[in-house]
């Protein structure tokens, strides 16, 4: 096995950088968004780099990747990259290539956009395409929402600031939705259906018991088999037990669905990073186009667009107007589910008179 290579790590990035970047590495002076989806970075040397950003569904066939390779070769000396939100960017120092590149990408169905104050690609997860834990599909919801939000992607419509949407199909939150302007999150609503038959063989009982944040699981002997039981009133459907033990599935067609969260951000810009907060506890799964989710997101985005000030992220806007008014303006109902009841719940109670009129 002398020839088996291991632990070589990723290739060094330098070999993939276009010459204009190698030359001006660390010496960029400023940038402009020359048109929606097109960034121009200007170096101290005066050199210019154009980045043309195009949408992808993240899930890409090799055919598409090969097509991107062709396009990069045609316009960019073979240089392209992906962004942290799964857009693809074509990189060229040749300004005259920008126009045809944009046209080509739009024509191929990977439209250009996603820069500046608007909505860029949705960070998301596997859903029914690959994960065992999913309470909803991921890609289908994302596609449905982005079709509706499209004018905010391609620059047709503007927003007061960047608006980041994220999707995760279960509470594990692989899409790390917890700090998004709008988070769409798959939720289960029934306790695990314990498979006593396979429990002993497939799971460690102590670690299954330990996995439960609320202590809802206890060891039990069922029909003579060593297994566990779930105290249903103590279960809040997090699926952490299922993560460690396949014998505790939570997925259920009729009660799984989607929750919507708003007002998170990660940048340090102006206000501190914020968690997203619950806006809608539950919407049923409505494949293939999830109309209620789409319309709810739309309603929230439009309310924000109409009311926020320039540079004000969703969470900053809500902080300014207050949650009573957010619920009033969006028409979303406030319920007991909105009130935190986990460990630090008390820290979210309004312990002052500092609330504004709805």
């Amino acid at each position: 096995m002398a020839e088996r290579k291991t632990d070589i790590g990723p290739p060094h990035y330098e070999q993939f950088l276009p010459p204009v970047i190698k030359k001006n590495y660390g010496k960029w002076k400023y940038h402009e968004i020359v048109r929606p989806g097109v960034l121009m970075h200007v170096a101290e040397s005066g050199d210019k780099l154009f980045s043309v950003r195009a949408a992808t569904p993240r899930l890409a066939s090799t055919k598409t990747l090969r097509m991107f390779a062709d396009i990069a070769e045609e316009y960019c000396g073979g240089h392209l990259r992906w962004t942290s939100r799964n857009n693809v960017e074509f990189l060229t120092d040749n300004e005259s290539n920008v126009e045809p590149l944009v046209e080509r990408l739009n024509k191929e169905g990977y439209p250009v956009g996603g820069t500046g104050p608007g909505i860029t690609n949705i960070v998301h997860t596997q859903g029914w395409v690959h994960c065992h834990s999913a309470a909803s599909d991921a890609s289908g919801v994302v596609k449905s929402v982005m079709d509706e939000m499209f004018p905010y992607y391609n620059g047709e419509k503007k927003l007061p600031a960047k608006l980041r949407i994220a999707f995760a199909c279960c509470l594990n939150m692989c899409g790390a939705v917890h700090c998004s302007d709008i988070a769409i999150l798959g939720v289960h609503r029934k306790p695990p259906d314990v498979k006593h038959d396979i429990m002993k063989a497939q799971c460690e009982i102590p670690s299954t018991v330990a996995a439960c944040p609320t202590g809802a699981i206890r060891p039990a002997t069922v029909d003579g088999k060593q297994s566990v039981e779930v105290i249903e009133e103590q279960c809040m459907f997090c699926a952490n037990c299922f993560s460690v033990c396949p014998a505790m599935p939570l997925n259920r067609p009729d009660t799984d669905g989607i929750s919507i969260w708003v007002g998170g951000k990660v940048s340090q810009a102006r206000s501190e990073p914020k968690f997203s907060k619950l806006a809608v506890p539950y919407i049923p799964n409505e494949p293939p186009r999830w109309p209620t989710v789409v319309n709810t997101v739309k309603k929230i985005v439009e309310t924000y667009a109409a009311n926020a000030r320039p540079w004000e992220r969703m969470g900053e806007w809500i902080d300014r107007i207050g949650w009573p008014r957010f619920f009033k303006l969006t028409g979303l109902p406030f319920t007991k589910y909105h009130i935190d009841d986990f460990t630090h719940a008390g820290e979210t109670f309004q312990r002052s008179l500092h609330f504004k009129r709805a």
Binding site: P10, P57, L59, R81, W128, L171, C238
Partner: protein, 396 residues
């Protein structure tokens, strides 16, 4: 090419509309003769009807000598959809900043077309290039050909996860340190920790060149390295005046009044900043990119502990080192990391993220044990409760 692509009336609804369609992508691969892609369409169409997934809890599969990098996945309807009976993903460590060339991209496609489903994720949420769906037998050949090409697997399980970074100095005028280099260096340095899970749980690194945090590091990484500066914001007053004249932005309203520190003033032509009060939030620089820039003494703030909600609730990372110079070979960061891993490795519980561990044993104790001095920058405010675990000197 021979097989007939399945009929998927429900999924076809998702080929409509302006946004690129993942269903189109799967179909492209199916049309390309990938049986796995075709079966995936079938499974998914069924999920869309039934409103439930058809994937089983993962099994332990992988490549020899590695403990991570592959997510095992089996279908629960193997008779009906035999080509996705096994449907494992490989997490391939992406190049820093997700830069590629056409050439390398095609070679990756060649490997995946040969052995896999033809379906990928560019990229996974952690940053990896994800090769989505292959049989167990395919894992070793894919791995061999990838390493031949110069690629290696990323992390999964209780190991260091694949670090990622913003494009930083490659393109951005605001990068306060070389994110791509740091990401590469740390990844290379900790190859063993990346490939062989030996921690209580996962540990993620993300490198952002400035407070805009374009890789969401503060929310999504156990160790977030966020660029910042120590001295004063650089101001080009001529460019400020230019902006003021241009009228594109109301400097008083949109810059000065939005400064969270309230430390700016503008008299119509000159912009002043009280840098003692500045909180390095980046807003003014974002708003006036031609006029303002981070200071010259640059480095990063190191924050520890972010994670998703499971089990104790989501956390953002918190300040450990207010300012660290980030020069290769990043010895300070490596030492800090090893000290953290040692302590957490020894005392962390199974599936306890480092952020939860710190809360359990107390940040003060944690710092003491890894040999870091406590500083007020680490807290929003000192404690409010009087439950102090005083340790008395011997004589007392």
């Amino acid at each position: 090419m021979a097989t007939k692509v399945r009929e998927t009336p429900m999924l076809d609804e998702l080929t409509k509309g302006p946004w690129p369609s993942f269903v189109r992508e799967i179909k492209k691969s199916a049309e390309d003769g990938k049986e796995a892609a075709n079966d995936l369409l079938g499974v998914l169409e069924r999920s869309y009807h039934e409103k439930i997934g058809h994937w089983k809890h993962g099994g332990i599969v992988g490549v020899m000598g590695y403990g991570g990098g592959v997510i095992g996945r089996y279908n629960d309807l193997p008779e009906e959809f035999p080509h996705v009976a096994h449907f494992h993903t490989l997490r391939v460590n992406q190049p820093s900043g997700w830069f590629y060339t056409s050439d390398i991209l095609r070679k990756i496609c060649d490997i995946w077309d040969k052995h896999g489903s033809g379906i990928t994720n560019f990229h996974g949420s952690t940053g990896d290039m994800v090769l989505l769906g292959c049989r167990t037998e395919a894992l070793e050949p894919v791995f061999a050909e990838l390493t031949e090409l110069g690629f290696d697997l990323g992390g999964s399980g209780s190991d260091m996860r694949t670090p990622s970074c913003c494009c930083g100095k490659a393109r951005c005028e605001w990068a306060c340190y070389d994110t791509m280099n740091a990401c590469y260096d740390i990844t290379m340095h900790f190859q063993d920790e990346l490939h062989r899970p030996a921690f209580p749980y996962k540990y993620k690194f993300k490198f952002a060149g400035c407070g805009n945090d374009c890789v969401a590091s503060i929310a999504r990484s156990d160790c977030a390295v966020i660029g910042t500066w120590k001295d004063d914001i650089q101001i080009d007053q001529a460019a400020v005046a230019e902006y003021a004249k241009g009228g594109g932005i109301d400097i008083q309203k949109h810059v000065v009044e939005r400064c969270p520190a309230g430390c700016m003033s503008f008299d119509g032509s000159k912009l002043e900043i009280n840098n003692d009060d500045c909180m390095k939030c980046m807003h003014c620089i974002n708003a006036l990119p031609k006029a303002l820039a981070p200071g010259k003494e640059r480095g990063a703030t190191i924050l520890i502990g972010a994670k998703a909600p499971i089990i104790g609730g989501a956390l953002l990372s918190s300040v450990f080192v207010p300012f660290l110079e980030m020069e290769p070979p990043y010895e300070d960061l490596k030492e800090l990391t090893e000290a953290i891993w040692d302590l957490w490795g020894e005392h962390g519980k199974n599936r306890e993220r480092v952020g939860e561990f710190i809360q359990r044993i107390g940040l003060g104790n944690f710092l003491e044990q890894i040999g870091l001095e406590p500083t007020p920058e680490m807290v929003v405010h000192p404690r409010t409760n009087p439950y102090i675990f005083f340790e008395l000197d011997e004589e007392e």
